[in-house]
């Protein structure tokens, strides 16, 4: 059955980037580390991990919430929300966008979350069971739930347009941005979007270990996507919050940087099993094909792929198959990278950080590397950018993300060059 594509007079572009990542706080520090192959994966330091099989993770060292928010707000929120508020502030600054200057109903907040305010929740559940019901604090009801970060960003910045929270595990960062684009198509001018995650607490780590997908290797090479020694992934915290704007309003207000356009999106579900790998890569491949079709481009137009990179043989094989199925001969030619090998998997924060990587790769002409993956799985037929970053003219990028339980999402981004935006034709339907 044919899909009827929605009418598009408006175009969704990204004009601001805010990053809180294990290998750098702030876009400049993070990008510099990422392009130089500097990993943020270390032995867990926020608690003693000795009794856990997984002891390495991507923690954001040196993150001080008070650099971004008041002590009062800090007490009312989880570390996950601190990072979301910090990254949102950075995105606004980067975009030179002051929410106070605009109609509050013309702006939205749409973020992804996977584990919510899990550490705050652990503290309160601990109090309840060890001390009693009247020891549970007044802020549990607003700090723990998955909507806390969207709600707090909306309140802090006076944003009143339709907001949202999506949960599709690791695919969430893409799904949130795609829903943000949908909001732009429906008339919203600016959307604070993306995701962050803070899953490195004792109980949240225990929950993650139950999947059997985490690496137990006890050094910083634990996460080796597409490598024959792949032993699972390493979890990490942080992510990226981006400012998505309607292109016309971004130009009108004189946005200093238009990083690129959200050109295409495709999402599918394996519909197969609540955790086991699907029998084939057809649904991930279909997500890619849908995104290309939505973007009205051909596989050959892609200059880079940021892969999901689960770092398990079964899942890595499936992803390689999906790329071959969707991109044909171009799959072997296009550079593929997994910079999350330097941060760990950030769940809801991972895909939006990869989108930030894609946008900066376009801007700076450099593809960040996949680290610790110097023994590619035999026969995968992909050009993995290994160890060191690679110079390349990147005009169009594909970002892939999968969520535990069968979610597949793909996003196509395209650089917007100055001639494009000085020509009035950009405002017409493509």
């Amino acid at each position: 059955m044919m899909t009827t594509l929605p009418e598009r007079r408006r175009r969704a572009v990204i004009t601001g980037i805010g990053v809180v990542a294990p290998n750098g706080i702030g876009t400049d520090a993070w990008w510099s580390a990422t392009t130089s192959g500097t990993s943020g994966i270390n032995r867990i330091s926020r608690f003693d991990p000795s009794r856990y099989a997984t002891q390495f993770a991507g923690e954001v060292d040196g993150f001080d919430a008070l650099d971004y928010i008041s002590r009062r707000l800090m007490m009312q929120t989880d570390r996950w929300t601190w990072m979301g508020l910090a990254a949102a502030n950075m995105a606004f600054d980067d975009a030179a966008f002051r929410p106070d200057d605009y109609d509050p109903y013309s702006m939205s907040v749409i973020t992804a979350s996977s584990s919510g305010g899990n550490e705050f929740g652990q503290v309160e559940i601990q109090k309840l069971w060890s001390k009693g019901a009247n020891h549970v604090g007044a802020y549990q009801s607003i700090a723990w739930f998955y909507a806390a970060t969207t709600g707090q960003i909306s309140i802090q910045h006076g944003i009143k347009g339709a907001s949202g929270v999506v949960v599709t595990e690791g695919a969430g960062g893409i799904d949130a941005l795609a829903h943000g684009r949908r909001a732009v198509f429906r008339g919203i001018d600016a959307v604070v979007s993306g995701g962050v995650e803070a899953p490195i607490g004792p109980y949240a780590l225990t929950c993650q270990m139950a999947t059997g997908r985490l690496s137990s290797v006890a050094d910083e090479t634990a996460y080796r996507p597409f490598d024959e020694r792949a032993s699972g992934y390493v979890p990490g915290e942080g992510g990226a919050i981006l400012l998505v704007e309607n292109l016309e309003s971004a130009i009108r207000r004189g946005a200093p940087t238009i990083y690129g356009e959200i050109l295409g999106y495709g999402a599918t579900h394996d519909g197969h099993h609540p955790w086991a790998p699907p029998p084939d890569a057809s649904q991930l491949a279909r997500a890619i094909k849908l995104a290309l079709r939505d973007a009205r481009i051909e596989p050959e137009d892609l200059d880079v792929v940021f892969a999901d990179g689960a770092a398990s043989r079964a899942w890595d094989d499936l992803e390689a198959q999906a790329l071959h199925e969707a991109l044909g001969d171009h799959a072997a030619a296009v550079p593929v990278s997994v910079p999350k090998s330097m941060t760990g998997r950030l769940y809801a924060g991972g895909a939006s950080l990869d989108v930030a990587s894609a946008l900066l790769a376009m801007r700076h002409g450099v593809i960040p590397p996949t680290v610790h993956a110097d023994r590619p799985i035999p026969g995968c037929g992909l050009d993995i950018v290994r160890d060191v970053s690679r110079s390349a003219d990147v005009r169009t990028a594909l970002v892939l993300a999968r969520g535990y339980g069968g979610f597949n999402s793909a996003l196509v981004l395209r650089r917007i060059s100055t001639p494009d935006i000085t020509n009035d034709a950009h405002l017409e339907a493509r």
């Binding site: 009693g132 549990q140 909507a147 599709t168 579900h269 519909g271 609540p274």
Partner: protein, 422 residues
């Protein structure tokens, strides 16, 4: 623009764990709130809730599914089984790639997260927990995308799948998300709704200190009193509902029974406070007016308002103001009611249960009542359909939602034959 029909309804609610039983209980004005039976609530300020007497096996789940699924996921699967059967869609011949899933939940697997935590932390004494004691499916409790995943797997649905978690508006917002997926051509059928099973010690404990829940423990059955002068907070509930959303022309072409269509959906944020509401109802009224505009509707077209009506002092005043601001004088002429008076407030699940109630209200031409409304509040001066259901033709029903985080949502359902074909 593609239009969204509702062609199937499934419900698991307190007092009625099937669509028909739920509707019968609503029309009878029967309250399902009671003293909590799931655990000993004695040490909590609020000790009452609306619990579901739910048998997952009777609802069609397998033993295996029951073992691995959290209770809120079971509710959604049960409601989806009923809704898909109601829609008479033959999954065997459908293009599964065109079937999406959009489900909501506010707190997801909290109940399992809490009970497992007690086990792994030695009763809350050990901050560094023992991972060996965790249950094998605990990750699905941490990350509520399991809700959408399980439903996609159950029906082999390979279209886009998503969980929407916007707190207490999750139900409306998830159905709104499904509606937009159909409008935008991402799917032709969406299994959409919401579910919650948050009646657990930590959930009760977290609402106690802010006095959001009712402490009228001695009158459990009548404690949920939306719009009543003596209301003292919401009564926790649980449950879920699932609707089959279907592109309207396709639904008509296959001769489906169309309950109604989604005529408009809008959300706003109050950007004010995580829990507090201003009495003017401004942002909710903006959402209502946006939803009306999408369906080319005037206030006079609205026949019934299914209110959020949580029964907190603040909400009911806020919402009354919002309805009046959006509908003007017409607000006084139509029945408004809150079914939370009977089924409690199931956080992220209730919005979908209320949309199911709206679809059934249009179908049967009956506005369900607000139970327990016996003392008029001068600040709440609309016709809240006290205690007794009312028979009237309902072509257009409005439902509203409001939640922590400042979320305000509105959805309008309308008979699909009101509008000429696009």
């Amino acid at each position: 623009m593609r239009r969204t029909a509702i062609t199937g309804v499934g419900v698991v609610a307190p007092g009625g764990v099937t669509r028909d039983a739920f509707w019968a209980a609503l029309v009878a004005g029967r309250s399902a709130t009671r003293r909590i039976t799931f655990f000993d609530p004695s040490e909590f300020r609020s000790q009452i809730a609306a619990e579901c007497d739910f048998d997952p096996i009777a609802a069609g789940l397998s033993e295996l599914e029951v073992r691995r699924m959290d209770r809120y996921v079971q509710f959604a699967v049960a409601a989806a089984i009923e809704a898909v059967a109601d829609s008479a869609i033959e999954l065997g011949t459908e293009d599964r790639e065109r079937i999406g899933v959009a489900l909501g939940s506010a707190v997801g697997g909290t109940t399992l997260l809490e009970s497992d935590y007690v086990a792994v932390s030695d009763g809350g004494r050990d901050w560094l927990v023992d991972p060996d004691l965790a249950s094998p499916h605990i990750y699905q409790a941490l990350v509520p995308s399991a809700l959408a995943s399980e439903v996609s797997v159950r029906f082999g649905a390979q279209g886009p799948s998503v969980v929407v978690s916007t707190g207490c508006t999750s139900g409306i917002d998830a159905i709104g998300f499904g509606h937009q997926m159909i409008q935008d051509g991402e799917a032709d059928v969406v299994i959409s709704g919401a579910s919650e099973s948050g009646i657990s010690p930590i959930s009760m404990a977290c609402f106690d200190p802010i006095r959001a829940t009712s402490a009228n423990n001695d009158e459990a059955e009548s404690a949920s009193r939306p719009f009543d002068l003596k209301r003292d907070g919401f009564v926790m509930g649980e449950g879920g509902a699932v609707l089959v959303l279907e592109e309207l022309e396709r639904a008509r072409a296959r001769g489906a029974h169309v309950y109604c269509e989604i005529s408009g959906y809008a959300g706003r944020g109050n950007a004010f406070h995580m829990t507090g509401l201003k009495p003017d109802g401004l942002e909710m009224s903006e959402a209502i007016m946006d939803a009306m505009r999408q369906g080319d509707l005037e206030p006079a077209d609205i026949d019934y308002v299914n209110a959020h009506g949580s029964g907190t002092r603040q909400n009911d005043v806020h919402e009354t103001a919002a309805i009046k601001r959006a509908l003007g004088e017409h607000a006084y002429r139509i029945p408004v009611s809150s079914i939370k008076s009977m089924v409690g407030h199931s956080l992220g699940g209730i919005g979908a249960i209320e949309m199911a109630a709206c679809a059934l209200a249009i179908e049967h031409g009956v506005a369900p009542p607000t139970a327990n409304l016996t003392h008029a509040d001068p600040q709440c001066d609309l016709d809240y359909t006290p205690r007794v259901a009312r028979r009237l033709p309902i072509d257009v029903a409005l439902s509203t939602g409001s939640g922590f985080g400042g979320f305000q949502s509105a959805m309008i359902l309308a008979r699909d034959d009101l509008r000429k074909a696009a």
